[in-house]
C-alpha cells in the first residue's frame, strides 16, 4: 500500500509553486530591461574608421581585384550590420586587402560567420589552417591563418574577431568571451577583421600581414584601437580568458 499525502497537502504545495512563479514574475516585471544592445552603441560609421593613409600604406583605388565580399557569402543582412572593404598599397607596390564586418549582436545565429565558410563558398580550397599570436601596441591578438587557393588565385588570409572589447577566434574562446560578456548583462557587439593578399608565397604574405596589422593598430586613435584589438592588455588573451 502506498502512503497517501495528508489532505491539506495540495493547497500548501500549490501555494509554494504559485508564490515562486509570482515572485519571479514580479522580479522580471520590476527588473529594468537590460540594455539589449550592450556596449555604448552609438551608430557605427565604419566609413571613417580606417585612415586613407598611415605608416607607409595608402588607399589604392586603382585596382579592381576587390576582396571577396563578406555579404555575398553570408547573404544575410542580419549577420553583418556593416562592412568595409579597402585595398591598401605601400611604397613598394605591395597590396593588402582589408575587410571589416561589424555586427552589433554577437550571439547565436547572429554571430559573425567564419571566413573559412566564406572562402569555401566561393570555390576556394583552404589549406594550412593554423593560429598564431601577434603582439601589437594594444596587446597580443590571436590570428588565424589559412591559404585560400582557386585556379588563378592564391590568397593567404589572416583574420581575427572581437567580441565586445576582447579579441578572439571562432570556437571555444569566442564562446567564452560571449559568456563573459553575457554575465555582465550585455550582448557584445563584434568585429571581424580580415587581412589578405594575392601571393604565391604564404610566408612572405603573412610577414606582410603582420606588418600591416601592427602599423594599422598603431596608427589608430585609442577608441578605434580598442575596437580592432580590444581593450589594452599585456597578457595573452588566451591565457587570461
Amino acid at each position: 500500500m502506498i502512503r497517501l499525502p495528508p489532505p491539506w497537502l495540495s493547497f500548501t504545495r500549490v501555494s509554494v509553486i504559485v508564490s515562486l512563479l509570482c515572485l519571479m514574475a514580479g522580479v522580471i516585471w520590476l527588473n529594468p530591461k537590460p540594455d539589449a544592445s550592450g556596449f555604448e552603441r552609438e551608430a557605427v560609421v565604419m566609413e571613417n574608421w580606417i585612415p586613407h593613409s598611415f605608416g607607409g600604406w595608402r588607399l589604392d583605388d586603382t585596382v579592381n581585384v576587390g576582396p571577396l565580399s563578406l555579404i555575398a557569402a553570408a547573404e544575410s543582412e542580419t549577420v553583418y550590420v556593416q562592412t568595409l572593404e579597402r585595398i591598401f598599397v605601400d611604397d613598394d607596390g605591395r597590396r593588402i586587402m582589408l575587410s571589416l564586418a561589424y555586427g552589433d549582436r554577437q550571439e547565436g545565429d547572429l554571430q559573425a560567420h567564419r571566413p573559412e565558410f566564406c572562402y569555401k563558398a566561393q570555390g576556394f580550397q583552404l589549406s594550412a589552417l593554423h593560429d598564431i599570436e601577434l603582439a601589437t601596441v594594444q596587446g597580443v591578438i590571436p590570428l588565424r591563418r589559412m591559404e585560400a587557393r582557386r585556379p588563378g588565385r592564391s590568397e593567404p588570409v589572416s583574420y581575427w574577431l572581437t567580441i565586445g572589447d576582447r579579441p578572439a577566434l571562432p570556437g571555444f574562446h569566442r564562446k567564452l568571451a560571449q559568456l563573459r560578456h553575457g554575465l555582465t548583462g550585455k550582448t557584445p557587439d563584434g568585429l571581424l577583421i580580415r587581412v589578405s593578399s594575392l601571393d604565391e608565397n604564404p610566408e612572405q604574405a603573412y610577414a606582410l600581414h603582420n606588418e600591416f596589422i601592427m602599423t594599422l593598430i598603431e596608427s589608430l586613435p585609442p577608441d578605434l584601437r580598442r575596437r580592432l584589438a580590444g581593450a589594452p592588455r599585456s597578457a595573452s588573451p588566451n591565457l587570461d580568458a
Binding site: 495540495s10 500549490v14 512563479l21 514574475a25 550571439e107 554571430q111 548583462g185
Partner: protein, 294 residues
C-alpha cells in the same frame, strides 16, 4: 494502474483532497502565463523574428493545448509524497529564466521552460505526472535555439548536399552547368546557394510539425510513429533539393527576374508540398500497418 484504481475507490471526500482541485491547476496556469508573458514579448521582437525560429510561438501554443487536453487524466492523479526533487528542478528553471531575462539570452529564456514545467509536474504528481505529459514537455525542446556552431556546420552540410545533387542532376540532363564552391554556373548565369537555401529552418519546423502529427495521430502505433519521424528529414531535404532545381531551371530558361520571383514564392509552396508528402506517406503507412495486423 491497479494502485490507482484502489485509490479511486476510496471514499469521495478524501480522494478529492488528495488529487489536485481544478481551480488550483487553473491558478498555476495563470501564474505561468504571468511569468512568461514578458518573456514572449521580448522573444517576439528578437528570436522569433528569425525565420528559423518563427515557429516558436506555435510550439508554445501547441504545448499548452496538449497539456489542457490531458487535464482529465491529470486531475485524477494522486499527489506525490516526494515533492522535493520537483521543487529543486523548478528552482533551477527559475534561475535559468532569471539569467536569460537579465542577460537577454534567448537560449536560456526558452530552455527554462523545460525545468520549470517538469519541476511543477514532478512537485505535484511525481514521475506519474511526467508519464502523462512527457510529450508536451519534450516538444518544448523545439523552442530552444540551436547553438550557433551547430547551425553553421549543418547549414554548410546541407548547402553542399544541395549544390552537389542539383549540379549532378542538371549535368545528367545535359545542361551546361558547373560549380565552384557554393556558386553554380549555368549558361550565362551565376547563382549563389545562400544560407537560407539550406532549408535548415524548414527542416526544423517540419520536424516539429511531424512530431506533433505523429503524437496526435499515431501514438497507439509506435512503429508507424517512428517511420513518420524518420521520414521528415529526408522529405524536407528532397523537397528543398527540388526547389533549388526548379529555381536553377527557371533562371536558366526565363532569366534572372523570373528566378527571383519564384525564389520567394517557392518557399511556402515547398513547405506545403513537404507537408502533403508527409501525409501521403502516412496514409501508405496506415494501409501497410493495417495489413500487418490482420
Amino acid at each position: 494502474m491497479s494502485k490507482h484504481t484502489t485509490i479511486g475507490s476510496l471514499p469521495g471526500p478524501i480522494q478529492t483532497e488528495r488529487c489536485l482541485p481544478t481551480w488550483q491547476l487553473v491558478v498555476i496556469m495563470l501564474a505561468l502565463i504571468a511569468l512568461y508573458f514578458p518573456v514572449y514579448r521580448e522573444l517576439a521582437g528578437t528570436l522569433w523574428q528569425q525565420e528559423a525560429y518563427a515557429h516558436g510561438p506555435l510550439i508554445v501554443l501547441a504545448c499548452i493545448g496538449l497539456m489542457v487536453a490531458r487535464r482529465s487524466v491529470l486531475l485524477k492523479l494522486t499527489l506525490t509524497v516526494h515533492p522535493a526533487p520537483g521543487l529543486m528542478l523548478l528552482l533551477v528553471g527559475l534561475a535559468m529564466l532569471w539569467i536569460g531575462v537579465t542577460r537577454s539570452f534567448p537560449g536560456w529564456m526558452t530552455a527554462s521552460h523545460i525545468p520549470v514545467i517538469s519541476g511543477i509536474i514532478l512537485m505535484l504528481w511525481g514521475g506519474r505526472g511526467l508519464r502523462v505529459l512527457w510529450f508536451p514537455v519534450l516538444f518544448l525542446f523545439f523552442v530552444i535555439p540551436l547553438p550557433g556552431i551547430f547551425i553553421e556546420v549543418m547549414t554548410w552540410q546541407m548547402k553542399e548536399w544541395i549544390a552537389m545533387s542539383s549540379v549532378a542532376t542538371l549535368q545528367a540532363l545535359g545542361y551546361p552547368v558547373a560549380r565552384s564552391g557554393m556558386i553554380i554556373l549555368m549558361g550565362q548565369y551565376q547563382m549563389l546557394i545562400a544560407d537560407a537555401c539550406s532549408g535548415l529552418h524548414s527542416i526544423l519546423s517540419l520536424s516539429a510539425l511531424g512530431m506533433l502529427y505523429a503524437y496526435v495521430s499515431a501514438r497507439q502505433q509506435p512503429a508507424r510513429a517512428v517511420c513518420l519521424l524518420l521520414s521528415v528529414i529526408p522529405i524536407a531535404m528532397a523537397v528543398n533539393g527540388l526547389r533549388t532545381l526548379i529555381l536553377l531551371l527557371m533562371t536558366f530558361h526565363h532569366g534572372d527576374a523570373v528566378g527571383r520571383y519564384w525564389h520567394d514564392l517557392t518557399g511556402t509552396v515547398m513547405f506545403l508540398m513537404a507537408l502533403a508528402l508527409l501525409l501521403v506517406f502516412d496514409k501508405s503507412l496506415v494501409v501497410l500497418f493495417r495489413g500487418r495486423h490482420r
